[in-house]
Amino acid sequence: MRWTSNARFLFLAPAVVWVLAFTVFPLGYSLYIAFLKIDSKTEITRERVPMFDEAGDPIMLANGKQRMRTIIHKEQINTTTFQGLKNFKRIFKDNQVATSVRITLTFILSSVSIELALGFLLAVLFNRHLAGRAAMRAVMILPIFATPLAAGYLFFTILYEEGGPLGFLGFPFLSDPDWALFSVIFVDIWQWTPFCFLVFLAALQSVPDELYEAAVVDGANGWQMLRMVLLPILQNTIVIVLLLRLAEALKVFDIPFALTGGGPGIATQSYSFLAFRTGIRFFDLGYASALCYGLLITVMIIIMLTFRRLRETYG
């Protein structure tokens, strides 16, 4: 980071301009939409026009009048009215929003905490000489990159209550509201525990064996080893993994879309899912934009709270 030539702007500018055009501008536009009420209606007008034959002459009827036909014009008319903060106020009165916030929070808290804990345990378990460890680690990478939507449908077949491989357990995995949320969390855990595991394992392996040996020589038991050696080593990594998982979990959409379709009822309709439905399915664009801003502000707060930590980690 020592060169100061003006060439630096040429290198950086394209990416910055791109982000301004494709992220910052849409976000601004979205804020503008959030203050509007957009009504789309299709206006149909009929027009009578004379008909012509192949030579271009008007076709005459027996009574001497021109033969006419009707052309139907369809025109989509969007009327927008500025309505101030009304969309934002509506958020707080909307029961669906309250439900989806509760669902999303339950989802985030349970999936992220389990993923981190399980990933940590697995990393400690794998941080030793295990025969075939490289192969096992390779298998653990697979879920992370499995198309989330396809994973959702795949688990639909696995959690299928009659005849699925887990059917013998007799649980209403998809038909009961609470179980359905559990199932969504379950799939997320399957997909993302390996991520936590891989990252923690990488962090553990960057520590020389001598450190563990020294702790053993000093007579540390398992618990002390965890508290005095492993957790301090992994502290920064844990914070980064937590941040990335939180940000990702807040967006959860694909898995409930495929696994439960947000149902039964709206029992697994996450916040992103609700915003998507409101905007793209029901075309309530203004309100959906306001909903999105709620999510955006939450994420911005998370980024701001962790800003100093991010600077240290990436600096």
């Binding site: 980071m1 020592r2 060169w3 100061t4 060439a7 630096r8 040429l10 290198f11 950086l12 990416a15 791109w18 494709f22 849409p26 536009y29 979205s30 400690v124 030793r128 000489h129 295990l130 096992m136 298998v139 990478i141 697979l142 990159f145 198309t147 989330p148 396809a150 994973a151 449908y153 795949l154 639909f156 077949t157 696995i158 491989p165 990252v199 990488a202 960057s206 040996e213 053993v216 398992g222 492993l230 980064i240 990335l244 807040l250 967006k251 959409f253 694909d254 879309f257 998507f276 664009l285 959906a288 934009s289 999105c292 999510l295 955006l296 994420v299 800003f307 991010l310 600077r311 600096g315």
Partner: protein, 288 residues
């Protein structure tokens, strides 16, 4: 707990064998969904629910490749595969073309008004933003430009999503490269462009390739924008899967095959780019 790590390989007690067994079981559990998809995809529709237990091909039922043949020969799924490939390749190439120079700028130059690290975190935060926040404006803009249901729209969107990833990751890559070679070029009267193109790029090539692969996988898996912006012509694989459920109900045997068709490319990529996965997914914070 970790004292075993210190012991030589040959010296294993009972506890160690038990832990090894646990590790194997955990690995198998995480692999099970893939196995189940493979098993289901090989069954005749009639065997879907009648096969009990683990459904091992040949033992529990006579496997057939019919589902695979039907799926891979249908024009819809071929088109979806082609769309997904074009969109993902286009988005990765575009993101890298824009992102690599920016990453280089952040690694090698000093920006005065806004410190480099803050620009980096600005890019990083784009990656963390919830995509649903831009889905409505994107939809309206694409509609205004007549780009709905085109591959171009999806290329633009996915490039936008992977660009911050490429910038942050490649910045770290360039920071890890020795500065001396590039300085030598400059001392010899070369331009910054030469230093970048002739020296830094070739050295960073493996990492750039890995970044491209991971970007490809991210774009391949993207669903929210794909389903919003495409209706028929530009359907990608995930949208194709979702659409086939709506119209025909869930046909388990086809679903398994489709899920595998969707998953195989990104999963293979993950294996190819194994060494870079940890670094990539933590945006360079943890080196794998």
């Amino acid at each position: 707990m970790a004292e075993m790590a210190a012991r030589p390989v040959g010296e294993r007690g009972f506890g160690e064998s038990l832990l090894w067994l646990v590790a194997i079981c955990v690995t198998l559990a995480f692999f099970f969904p893939f196995y189940w998809a493979i098993s289901q995809g090989l069954r005749n529709p009639i065997d879907t629910f009648t096969v009990s237990g683990l459904g091992v091909p040949w033992l529990s039922f006579d496997p057939t490749l019919d589902n695979w043949i039907t799926q891979l020969s249908s024009p819809e799924s071929r088109r979806a595969l082609a769309n997904s490939t074009i969109v993902s390749v286009g988005a990765s190439v575009l993101a890298l073309a824009l992102g690599t120079p920016a990453a280089y700028a952040l690694a090698r130059f000093r920006f005065r008004r806004v410190p480099n690290i803050d620009i980096t975190i600005w890019f990083l935060s784009q990656r963390i933003l919830p995509p649903v926040a831009t889905v409505i404006p994107f939809y309206l803009v694409m509609r205004a430009f007549g780009l709905l249901d085109t591959q171009l729209a999806l290329i633009l969107v996915n490039a936008t999503f992977v660009l911050p990833f490429a910038v942050v990751i490649l910045r770290q890559t360039f920071l890890d490269l020795p500065l001396e070679l590039e300085e030598a070029v400059l001392v010899d009267g070369g331009t910054y462009r030469t230093a970048f193109m002739r020296v830094a790029l070739p050295l960073a090539a493996p990492s750039i390739a890995a970044t491209a692969l991971i970007s490809f996988a991210f774009s391949w898996n993207e669903f929210l924008f794909a389903i919003t912006l495409s209706s028929r012509d530009s359907l990608t694989i995930p949208v194709f899967i979702a659409g086939s459920v709506d119209t025909r109900g869930v046909q388990f045997w086809f679903m398994a095959v489709r899920a595998l068709i969707a998953m195989v490319p990104p999963v293979l990529i993950a294996l190819l780019a194994q060494r870079y996965i940890v670094r990539g997914l933590t945006l360079g914070a943890v080196k794998g």
